[in-house]
């Protein structure tokens, strides 16, 4: 029993990183209205931003969070300018393919600039273990979960208590209606995209701290997991996307517990398929009709 509990804790920790990636992803998809394939690279660049920041100013987590958020938000602006801005009224597949191209560009540029080797990110958080025997939390797990919860809370406040947040939600629900209400849709989408990417960047930093390494090709699988979690949550619903990420993490780890780590993705995607068959809209409650 202890053992399953400790595996569930591992799952929650991994799931909360997935959750943060998925939150970023669904913010992007929500405000832009298009699926993106650059999220993995945005996550990777966030990790690298924190890596170089830690080298410059020492292991300060708060500065790391800010740096990775800003760097990825900036990449978000770049992605927006290239992939979305000119194609709002064009068929959807154009900007979709554009995001795939941008993702390749960013990944290969990163390999050239940062080099192909794994980079170590050791001792940002000291190895400390709280608990008894196998059951317990490590310090880095606590920090990961705490960061994810506090960022989600800030995002919740931003969306529900600020004018910009309300504008973002309006754009996410209906661009035409929002424009008629006098909202600058282009600028608001740009902001939303940058916030989503920034959150992805912080998730990248957490991934790098948790796994203690980073590499230019880490974005591929991360982006895929972010996408799956967001789909579980119904793509644009933020709390459901977070729940989706958490579930995915727990299901994967419990799956590994009863079988083999080689089957990680099998459990993740079978779970995704089952949920989509039973509840095609994901965890999100479907209210009203979407245009």
């Amino acid at each position: 029993m202890d053992y399953y509990l400790s595996q569930a804790i591992n799952g929650i920790c991994q799931g909360s990183i997935y959750a943060l990636m998925a939150i970023g992803y669904s913010v992007v998809v929500g405000v832009v209205g298009l699926v993106t394939f650059t999220h993995g690279e945005v996550i990777m660049l966030g990790a690298f931003a924190s890596f170089y920041t830690f080298q410059l100013v020492g292991n300060n987590l708060i500065i790391g969070v800010i740096a990775s958020f800003l760097a990825s938000a900036f990449i978000g602006v770049f992605v927006f300018k290239i992939c979305y801005e000119r194609f709002f009224n064009a068929p959807r597949h154009i900007s979709l393919i554009c995001t795939i191209g941008t993702s390749m560009l960013l990944r290969n540029l990163a390999q050239i600039i940062f080099g192909p080797n794994n980079k170590p990110l050791l001792e940002v958080v000291p190895n400390r273990f709280f608990g008894q025997g196998v059951v317990g939390l490590t310090l880095v797990q606590i920090i990961v979960i705490a960061t994810v919860i506090s960022l989600s809370f800030l995002l919740f406040l931003f969306f529900n208590r600020t004018r910009w947040g309300i504008m973002l939600r309006a754009v996410s629900q209906d661009k035409t209606a929002a424009a008629m209400m006098g909202i600058n849709v282009r600028l608001t989408s740009l902001l939303g995209n940058s916030i989503g990417c920034g959150l992805g960047g912080v998730a990248g930093m957490l991934l790098a701290i948790y796994y203690q390494t980073l590499v230019a090709t880490m974005g591929g699988s991360a982006g895929m997991k972010a996408f799956s979690s967001a789909v579980l949550g119904g793509l644009t619903n933020i709390p459901s996307a977070a729940a989706g990420g958490l579930c995915l993490g727990i299901v994967e780890n419990l799956g590994i517990t009863i079988s083999s780590a080689s089957f990680r993705d099998i459990f993740a995607f079978i779970f995704l398929l089952l949920v989509l068959i039973v509840k095609p809209e994901g965890f999100a409650k479907k209210t009203g009709v979407r245009p």
């Binding site: 053992y3 080797n117 190895n127 390494t213 994967e252 083999s260 780590a261």
Partner: protein, 377 residues
Amino acid sequence: MKRKLMGMALLIAMIAFAGVSAFAAPKTYRIGVMAPITGTNAEYGKGFQIAMKMAADEINAKGDIKLELIFKDSKGDPKESADIARQYADDPSIMAILGDFTSSCCMAAAPIVDEAGLVLLSPTASNPNYAGMSKYAFSIMGRQDGEAPFFATYLLKKYAGAKNVGLIWVNSDWGKSAHDNFVAQAKKEGLNIVADVNYLADEKDFSSAIAKLRREKPDHIVIMDQGLVPTIINQIAQAGWTDVRITTLGPGTSEQILNLSKKNAEGLLLTTPFFIDDNNRTAKAWADRFAQIAGFFPTVHPACAYDTVYLIAAAIRNSGDKVTRESIRENLQNLKGFVGLTGPIQFNPAGDIFRKYLIVAVENGKFVRKTDYDYAK
């Protein structure tokens, strides 16, 4: 005056002769290389590139034959290796292929070179099934049915005194063969395998696999992988699991382990067929030259890569006037008396070799050789 004239004449004669020998320019042979220059195993791919270029430059400087190496990045992906092998096979100017790094990549390319009749000489593939796949497939790493049993008997049982062992291994062609050969020998030696977990090559999160191992309380863990070994070592340390000795089969004396795991790697035990230290002068000089270019110290893998270039050169020289893809294969298979940087190399009928192994430990952030080649007696 007369003497001066004589000297001049001699000089002119020498220049003229040099001119003549320059006329009979050495023939250039194009050799295709595939290696994981990017991706998880990039350290090894980069090492291949540098070591092979060093060897080719030395051979070209000698001047009897000229080798031109063409490098292609297989990213450690068997699909890419198969594609690259096909490209090389279709290019009639390519005389042989050197590479790839992993057994999976080599095994994906083996049927293609078999069909094309083109030698595929891998510095590092050690799956015992690989070289037997084709008479054109060769490897000089030594085989997993040599190293894995050595690891079980001599490193774990004799050297470390292990009783209960936990295994964590990459589920690939190489990992599977390392694992199966290890388990077979461990059973013979009476080692108790208490936990056995595997994962796929692009895994990042080992927390649940580690929890699984930890539950069974092994006294030694064996990590069977190359590029991911530092990640696993770090995650074991992160989980606060300290009452276990970590050993690893596969990465050799990889600097990545020291760089990426730092003090988490302290006490790590591993095996290698080749070790560079101050006692081994030629190897040390070679390693220093390598490090100057590469910026990191070589493992056994680039040293093997270096030897493969000399092997191909020897096979070309032995082919005489008419060098073909087939003549290179024949002369490689029948090569006798070759001594490379990593020791004597003579292929068995399958096209690979058995090696002897050393036990190495990480102490104070450095690899330290613990046993000699005669430990297995």
